[in-house]
């Protein structure tokens, strides 16, 4: 059983941990640059230095401060928070469903959110509350409902990861059909609104919405962190995880409940944003491996970075116009994902 490395296991561990910490630090630095660029980019172009001065409260121009603090920063930070949520939940789903293609799309969560939003848009005039409140609430509720359906199924005796994936795909088609029905019945104005919501947009971000999403995610993070080792063990297969004393069914249900709330919160305010939840965990996995103490923060960082970069791209692809971010993530995400799949070592699935 001889190997090539002569270093002791403990030394190997320390080197690997140091490499991972360096990768995360580099990712954080890249994210800081991306967020600055995001805040600098828009109809009134600012320099990154001007943004940095404003953020550090060193700016002398109240106009720059107003642009940065009232408009740009909530959008830029919403990209970070939503991207982090999508990346983390994607990683959790891929682990608990034992499927490299799992994301909030796979189990119908995004389709549920889309249907929820569209339902409110179509029913808009009959609702007692403002549409700006009702749309995210409904999107959140239906995203959670989709995940709850999968969750309930997971609670049945004998439910496997495959059962959950199949149920999720069935739910996705159901919600897509219901969404298509709503689009078919909607007025031209409502239809336009639905389509715009489905494209996904960060421009509706405000500090209040950002605080809600960030607060929910901050509350969920410790719950997920507590299960990091159990999730890592699950990557060795259900049997082996169970042999290690992990209640696989309970872990899966806990993780899905967290995913339901986190994804619901993330998509409620920004609409459905594809591919981040799928690609970010793969990127993190390639760089950091599958020890979930590293994979979960890594996926959050990769998701934040991808969505932040997509936000910059959405504002620069067509100068003067805002390209829907959902389209950018899909357009960039597909070839990137193809590259990942074709070039990455296929050793992990």
């Amino acid at each position: 059983m001889a190997g090539l490395s002569a270093a002791s296991p403990e030394t190997t561990w320390r080197h690997r941990s140091a490499r991972r910490a360096a990768a995360l630090a580099a990712g954080l630095a890249a994210l800081a640059i991306c967020v600055t660029l995001d805040a600098a980019t828009g109809p009134a172009m600012l320099t990154p230095a001007a943004v940095a001065r404003s953020v550090l409260r060193l700016a002398e121009d109240p106009m720059v401060d107003a642009i940065v603090w009232s408009i740009r920063l909530p959008v830029a930070l919403m990209a970070v928070v939503v991207g982090a949520a999508l990346g983390t939940t994607g990683a959790v789903m891929q682990t608990v469903l034992n499927n490299p293609l799992a994301s909030s799309y796979t189990v119908g969560i995004s389709a549920g959110a889309g249907f929820g939003a569209a339902l409110v848009i179509v029913l808009g005039t009959w609702l007692p509350v403002a549409e700006s409140v009702a749309v995210p609430v409904s999107a959140f509720l239906f995203a959670s409902l989709a995940c709850t359906c999968v969750w309930l199924l997971g609670g049945l005796r004998g439910a496997t990861a495959e059962t959950l994936v199949l149920a999720g795909i069935a739910l996705m088609f159901l919600f897509q059909a219901l969404l298509a029905l709503l689009q078919f019945m909607a007025s031209p104005e409502a239809l336009q609104q639905i389509v715009f919501w489905l494209f996904g947009s960060l421009q509706r971000a405000t500090w209040a919405k950002l605080a809600i999403v960030a607060g929910i995610l901050a509350a969920l993070a410790p719950l997920l962190a507590r299960d990091a080792w159990a999730l890592t063990a699950l990557r060795l297969g259900e049997d082996r995880a169970a042999a290690l004393g992990i209640g696989v069914r309970g872990l899966r249900l806990r993780a899905l409940a967290i995913v339901a709330v986190a994804t619901g919160a993330a998509v409620a305010f920004v609409g459905t944003i594809g591919f981040v939840g799928l690609v970010a965990p793969h990127l993190a996995r390639m760089l950091l491996g599958e020890d979930h103490r590293w994979l979960l923060p890594g996926s959050a960082l990769a998701g934040a970075l991808l969505l932040s970069a997509a936000s910059v791209a959405s504002k620069t692809v067509s100068p003067g116009a805002l390209f829907p971010i959902g389209i950018v993530t899909a357009l960039v995400g597909v070839p990137f994902f193809a590259w990942l799949v074709l070039t990455a070592r296929r050793a992990h699935w």
Binding site: M1, A7, P9, D239, A242, A243, L244, R285, R345, H348
Partner: protein
């Protein structure tokens, strides 16, 4: 330390995989489970490990159920985990977000004991089947179990490593007063390393006892439908030489 199994039965739908098995295993003793494919060896181990619904009772004297270490047969896991991370999972209950130095040292020690310390930084997907088998055994041993349930631990190993592993298991069993139950296909290895052998066929216990009492030509013919020559090797162990397969009618 004592593992006692009473009237153990396991069903898969209408099929009985195990039927009324009664077995005892004592601390410091290696019990080998032998029998043809589908005889119920894996079902027995899974049931005792608590991973399989079953009838009958499994009781442990001198340890809790958490002290059971189970090595499943499947070595196919290809997660992007290093060998050391995989072994540390065996110490999961003692780990927080940070891995204490003592736990790291303990996992490293198990790797050194199994002779695979040099693989510590390698990913599971980069290993051979035999290396993965050793890594998963290291994971089980890292948990320092009182009861070891091992399903075909040598199936992917060459004879040298299989010999070394079985010797190590026997030594550990003696030194730490473990109850070790090993499902194994190699009758000669079972005869050489087990203190007692349980012979299963179609979910029933055909015989249990010392290798000399269980490994008879009649029992092998009955259980495996194989004509075998059983003799005593120069070192005193029982040796089995399979000669020809008998037809199903016997």
């Amino acid at each position: 330390m004592r593992l006692s199994v009473q009237d153990l039965s396991v069903r898969y739908g209408s099929r009985k995989a195990l039927d009324g098995i009664r077995l005892d295993a004592r601390g410091g003793e290696v019990l080998a489970l032998i029998g043809p494919n589908g005889s119920g060896k894996s079902s027995f181990l899974r049931a005792v490990a608590g991973l399989q619904r079953h009838g009958g009772t499994v009781s442990l004297q001198g340890a809790t159920r958490e002290a059971i270490g189970f090595l499943p047969q499947d070595n196919g896991a290809r997660a992007a985990l290093t060998v050391l991370e995989t072994v540390l999972l065996g110490r999961r209950r003692a780990l927080g977000w940070r891995v204490p130095e003592a736990e790291l040292a303990r996992a490293g020690e198990v790797l050194r004991r199994l002779g695979i310390a040099a693989l510590a930084g390698r990913l599971l997907g980069e290993l051979s089947g035999g290396q993965r088998q050793m890594v998963f055994l290291a994971q089980v041993l890292a948990a320092e179990p009182a009861v070891l349930l091992l399903d075909e631990p040598t199936s992917a190993l060459d004879i040298r490593h299989a010999l070394a592993l079985l010797t190590l298991l026997r030594d550990l069993t003696r030194q730490r007063d473990l109850v070790t139950v090993v499902a194994i296909h190699d009758l000669n290895a079972a005869a050489r390393f087990a203190d007692r052998i349980a012979l299963l066929r179609e979910g029933r216990l055909l015989a249990a006892g010392t290798p000399r009492t269980v490994l008879t030509e009649e029992a092998i013919a009955r259980a495996y439908r194989v004509d075998a020559h059983v003799h005593e090797a120069p070192d005193g162990h029982i040796a089995v030489s399979p000669c020809r397969a008998l037809d199903e009618a016997g």
